[in-house]
């Protein structure tokens, strides 16, 4: 868990834990008085290392729960930056973050640090995928899902079940939400429940039908409660169900989670297939993912970008730039926007055409690349 162990290419910001027992000795008193946790549970929490994938609406709320509750390490991973449309529900961000296009993981970490200096907070500015998950999961006891798409969740489920790490799923759109604790050895994995990426992603996303913040908080609360149970040693108290809820019409339903599926290579007893990754192949070097409903395409170039060298080039092509240490946002004369990250990702905003997005990246960055 030392910094050298994190062999990664993406930007990381780490806030080490600094205990101030004199001033904050009473910090956990109300949690200690809660019988099922007590001082034993608090000690276990102190030793726990949590990965939160996605630091948007759910992720920010989850991060706050884990940090205030006193987890030992809270590791945040998010590929995105703060925009004004996030502020209505993403509790850790403010107008300055949106103005500066701050990476969500870093902006969140800075807020969290002020809430509880006794927690080690790591911010990873990274596109979480099968390729990048290895180092992120290193030493982790539990993963909280704050992602916004099925593909990343399936990659997370595959990796967590291979490594034996519980994954607390949560999802939310409009006034609806769902949550389930998926636990290797106890429950089926996400792939067995919702299928692989051949199916659609569900027509409704927060970008098409919206989302209200009470729905987010409701789901985050369900996830955080399960995480606290697991990490404080109350593993028999795990709920064991998939909850679906609508907080507007108010309807809550629980469905019992099945055990592992015998023939599944992730959650099944058939370990001969463990590690069989044929169906989740590594992706090619340059690729583009259309971000549904956002009029955006994420292009992954497969090699790091030297942002400081690129800026003069972009300006020479008529772009106006917003710059921070993690990303460079370039407004093109025609209104399109390129958001460039040093790990080789480019968000192309103003198109939903993957081919056009790749073409634009190649044209705009060509003199640099050549």
């Amino acid at each position: 868990m030392d910094n050298q162990a994190l062999r990664t290419m993406h930007p990381i910001e780490i806030f080490e834990a600094v205990q101030d027992e004199a001033a904050f000795g009473d910090r956990y008193s109300r949690q200690l008085r809660f019988g099922p946790i007590g001082s034993d549970g608090q000690k276990r929490l102190r030793a726990a290392r949590v990965l939160i994938v996605g630091t948007g609406a759910l992720g920010a709320s989850l991060a706050q729960h884990m940090t205030r509750a006193g987890a030992g390490v809270v590791r945040l991973a998010d590929r995105d930056y703060v925009e004004p449309s996030n502020l209505q529900r993403q509790m850790l961000f403010d107008e300055d973050d949106a103005r500066n296009a701050a990476p969500k993981a870093v902006a969140a970490a800075r807020k969290l640090k002020r809430m509880n200096g006794g927690v080690r907070i790591e911010a990873h500015v990274v596109d979480v995928s099968k390729r990048t998950l290895g180092p992120l999961l290193d030493g982790i006891d539990l993963v909280l899902d704050g992602t916004d798409n099925a593909a990343t969740r399936l990659a997370l489920s595959d990796a967590c079940f291979r490594l034996g790490i519980p994954l607390i799923y949560g999802g939310v759109t409009a006034s609806e939400g769902m949550s389930a604790a998926l636990i290797p050895g106890r429950t089926a994995c996400l792939r067995c429940l919702i299928g692989d990426s051949a199916a659609d992603d569900g027509a409704d996303t927060c970008d098409t039908v919206g989302v209200i913040s009470p729905a987010v908080e409701f789901v985050a609360a369900l996830q955080a409660a399960e995480a606290l149970k697991w990490l404080s040693g109350n593993r028999d108290a795990m709920r064991g169900t998939w909850v679906t809820a609508d907080i507007w019409s108010f309807r809550v339903k629980e469905m019992k989670l099945p055990g592992g599926s015998p023939r599944c290579s992730c959650c099944g007893s058939d370990t001969s297939k463990a590690g069989d990754q044929r169906r989740h192949d590594d992706r090619p070097a340059v690729e583009a993912a259309v971000l549904c409903g956002r009029d955006s395409v994420q292009v992954t170039l497969g090699e790091p970008l030297a942002l400081d060298m690129l800026r003069p080039l972009l300006e020479a092509q008529g772009c106006s730039l917003t710059v921070n240490p993690y990303l460079t946002k370039a407004e093109l004369p025609d209104g399109k926007r390129l958001v460039l990250f040093s790990d080789g990702r480019v968000l192309v905003q103003g198109t939903s055409d993957a081919g056009e997005a790749i073409q634009l990246c190649m044209t705009m960055l060509q003199p640099y690349k050549g």
């Binding site: 996605g54 099925a150 067995c192 051949a198 998939w242 679906t244 469905m255 019992k256 599926s261």
Partner: protein, 290 residues
Amino acid sequence: MADSTSKLDFQLYCITGANYHPGRSVVDVVEQALIGGADIIQLRDKTSSKQDIRENAHKLRQLTKRYGVPFIINDHIDIALEVDADGVHLGQDDLSLAEARQLLGPDRIIGISTHSIEQGLAAQAGGADYIGVGPVYPTGTKPGRAAVTTSYVQEAAAQIRIPFVAIGGITLGNVDTVIAAGAKRICAVSEIVGADDPAAVCRAFKAKLKAAANDSEAQQPDFAGTGVIVNGVAQRTTARTVWELICQHSLEERRIVVELDGEIVVREEWSRTPIREGAAVELVHFVGGG
């Protein structure tokens, strides 16, 4: 998939086998079969050069168009696309259904040979338009493969909802047994293309299939369906499995979680899990935002 029979409406499936008719051309023999009433044709040729297969494919495409009958090519997706065939037929060891679908697009027919109910259900779940069920009897076209007998035909009749065609060693002498086991569609190779008069053999097959179809229509009382509760609403359904129910609700392409009587059913079990009278089913869309 919800209406998978619309692409395919056939009873007698004829597959080519040039070794059974030395001295006569494939096109002549297939035309005889078409005259006799074969209502789907497959070009299967494991021995000729690709160029010869391509030439025959072009000719058979023209011929089947004239008779208004679907034309399927065994294995060669590239040739199927080149000659604008109606579809392809795959073996268990060929390209996967998903890969084939990607190459062929949504509209072309994909059939697949299956040798057990597990393979049949997997092909159905994977989006096949029809399956071959066999070999019912030992056959010269598939030497060395153990016959599955009519027991797989019975299983298929009970559990497979896409069209299935019984194949393998079927002759005018044994076809009644195959039909009695539940086959509504049958396929023959040597019995048809090896005959002196393929048209007469086809007419005889068709007569037996038609008589059986009329009988079963006359005998079967209307199936009133199973009473179930779906998302809190009581309804009757003809679906026999969770998968069929999902298809009837046109949710087969959606990401959903399925609960049956209080417990979630993993996807792999959908086509194997029966719907019983009084079952309570919840079909819930996966919520993906965050």
